[in-house]
């Protein structure tokens, strides 16, 4: 259906409510796009077409019966990353360790979306245990950036970029979701830590990860966040944040430009695109102010030590006994652990577990962990201070548009320089497309806000997208 290409979830929701289109027709449209584009882009680990059509019929019945619990996005086809549990369906988190695992329960965020009438098309590819920056390490093969299919990408961003789904929800664990979205020409929103329940998200880096949303526009992301946010008794870190309000004027808003980022080696195209975006934001009424990030040179080491420690602890649950892969030829318990984990976990995950155990054990690395926890406190205090001088921080999303090199741990670490601070400090962030590089790959900028400052970030992102059209470009299909 040509008329559905490029429209957002809220617009589709209105068409469905006005009966201009049925839920089943909208779902069939998405399944047709998936059939057409999936062979190039591999966004999905599993397409659940039959279930989606059945679900669409159910939502249509609820609509026709006047069910008032339905959301404005009822009947809109969407995807979840394969780190989000849905009862009775496969959840692999991109790892062979969980191949064949059927989740016995649903995540809170899916329950909320389902209650509002979301139609799930399937689960999308992600880095193994969300441990990466571009989806490259997915054990079942990465999704492909539709702008250049040689580049790996996070599956949810690919599905939205291609028009296979109208929005995507997934883990913003390491940073792949936020980094992939602008490189696929779409927008993303990571809310403040504790805004969305992590119950039913496969745990990796518990203190750093949060559910995030991908949509064509930042307003699409905001509409979805409004459905999934809020306190959940099953996740004690959740809170009822303030009501989302993005009717803030840009006039007078202070956008911080970190001085430490001037020294980062960047692709020239990215530097110019982000500078042009900053000028556009100035034109819209915001003012740019220089800021210094707390412990700017030490943010990445702190982030990395904590991420490794939490990964090693969280992934200790994969023991080959209760669920997931189990080595059938082990002769004793210790061999069962070692062989199951050695065979089914990918190299990158194993490397992080080993480093995590170095940092958490008494084998010489524990001083780093203690220092990281102390530095974390200073970083969090430092951001409080930064946000007395500005309302949000502007940065690129990544230093380069090219993906990571498989096996290059240091590159993985360095490519996180702009996105890791929000994860570390639990801050909200949005990423917005802002141009194409010389190779025709979309680029983006990131705005990081103060805790529960999502509304201001959305307002600025929306102001920018109202004045530009970078987010409206749709990647062509091979053969077009």
């Amino acid at each position: 259906m040509k008329e559905l290409e490029g429209i957002g979830p809220l617009a589709l929701g209105r068409l469905i409510q006005s009966r201009a289109i049925s839920c089943v027709e909208a779902t069939r449209h998405s399944l047709e796009v998936i059939q057409r584009r999936e062979h190039q882009c591999s966004a999905f680990l599993k397409v659940t077409g039959e279930q989606a059509l059945t679900s669409a019929q159910g939502v249509q019945k609820r609509l026709d019966a006047g069910d008032e619990s339905l959301s404005p996005l009822a009947g809109v086809p969407m995807v979840l990353s394969d780190s989000v549990c849905v009862k009775g369906t496969a959840t692999t988190c991109g790892s062979k360790m969980l191949e064949g695992f059927l989740s016995p329960y649903s995540s809170t965020l899916w329950e909320r979306l389902q209650a509002g009438g979301a139609v799930l098309l399937g689960k999308t590819a992600l880095d193994e245990f969300a441990l990466g920056i571009s989806g490259e390490s997915c054990a079942f093969g990465p999704a492909r950036n539709p702008w250049d299919t040689r580049l790996a990408s996070e599956g949810g961003a690919v599905a939205v970029s291609c028009g296979e789904a109208f929005y995507a929800v997934g883990s913003d664990g390491f940073v792949a979701l936020r980094r992939s979205a602008p490189f696929c020409g779409v927008s993303s929103l990571r809310p403040t830590y504790g805004t969305v329940s992590r119950y039913g998200l496969v745990a990796g880096t518990s203190s750093l990860e949060q559910a995030g949303v991908v949509g064509r526009t930042i307003l699409d992301c905001a509409q979805v966040l409004a459905l999934i946010q809020g306190r959940d008794s099953r996740d004690s870190t959740t809170v009822d944040g303030p009501m989302l309000d993005w009717n803030t004027s840009l006039r007078g808003l202070r956008i911080g430009m970190p001085e430490s980022y001037l020294d980062v080696e960047l692709d020239l195209d990215i530097r110019q695109a982000v500078l042009a975006a900053s000028k556009q934001l100035e034109t819209l009424g915001a003012s740019l102010v220089p800021v210094e990030l707390p412990l700017a040179d030490d943010l990445l080491p702190v982030y990395y030590v904590m991420a490794c420690g939490e990964i090693s602890s969280n992934l200790a649950r994969y023991d080959g006994i209760r669920y997931g892969y189990s080595a059938k030829d082990a002769g004793d318990l210790m061999e069962l652990y070692r062989q199951s984990r050695g065979r089914a976990l990918g190299s990158r995950v194993k490397e992080h577990i080993l480093l995590g155990n170095l940092f958490l054990s008494g084998d010489g690395g524990e001083d780093y962990h203690q220092k990281a926890l102390q530095a974390w406190e200073l970083i969090l205090q430092g951001f409080e201070d930064v946000f007395t001088r500005c309302d949000m921080i502007l940065s690129p999303t990544a230093p380069r548009t090219v993906g990571e090199k498989p096996g290059d741990l240091l590159e993985l670490y360095r490519q996180s320089i702009f996105t890791a601070p929000a994860s570390l400090a639990g801050l909200p962030a949005v990423t917005i497309p802002c141009g194409l590089d010389a190779k025709g790959i979309p680029m983006g900028f990131q705005l990081t806000g103060k805790p529960f400052g999502e509304g201001e970030l959305i307002a600025v992102g929306h102001g920018y997208q109202s004045a530009t059209d970078f987010h409206l470009r749709i990647p062509g299909e091979v053969g077009e």
Binding site: K87, L333, G342, L358, S361, K371, L410, Y413, G426
Partner: protein
């Protein structure tokens, strides 16, 4: 800090992971670069600073003590690689005569 063969063996034990020969070589090379980057933390003077355990300020959270249905036991047990009836089968870890 260097990860020599003995330390790598110890980390594999702690991690309950057996690496292949190639993985051991790759890990030692990659970890050396990462540890070099991380070593800058040792220069920070943080004696006066207490550590943090969460990005948000932790508060006690209470909920009503009400009985709710739990996750379906059959669905959980169905995921176990090896089971017997309503039990998950594991290797024997206690030998006769081990009792205190």
């Amino acid at each position: 800090m260097k990860i020599d063969a003995a330390l790598l063996e110890r980390l594999q034990d702690l991690s309950r992971i057996r690496l292949s020969e190639q993985e051991r070589k790759d890990f030692q090379a990659g970890a050396a670069l990462i540890l070099d980057e991380i070593s800058r933390l040792s220069h920070l003077e943080l004696e006066e600073v207490s550590g943090r355990s969460s990005p948000s300020r932790c508060v006690n959270v209470f909920r009503e003590d009400t009985v709710e249905p739990s996750t379906d036991q059959d669905a959980i047990l169905a995921q176990a690689p090896d089971r017997e009836g309503r039990y998950i089968r594991v290797f024997k870890t206690v030998e006769q005569g081990d009792e205190a």
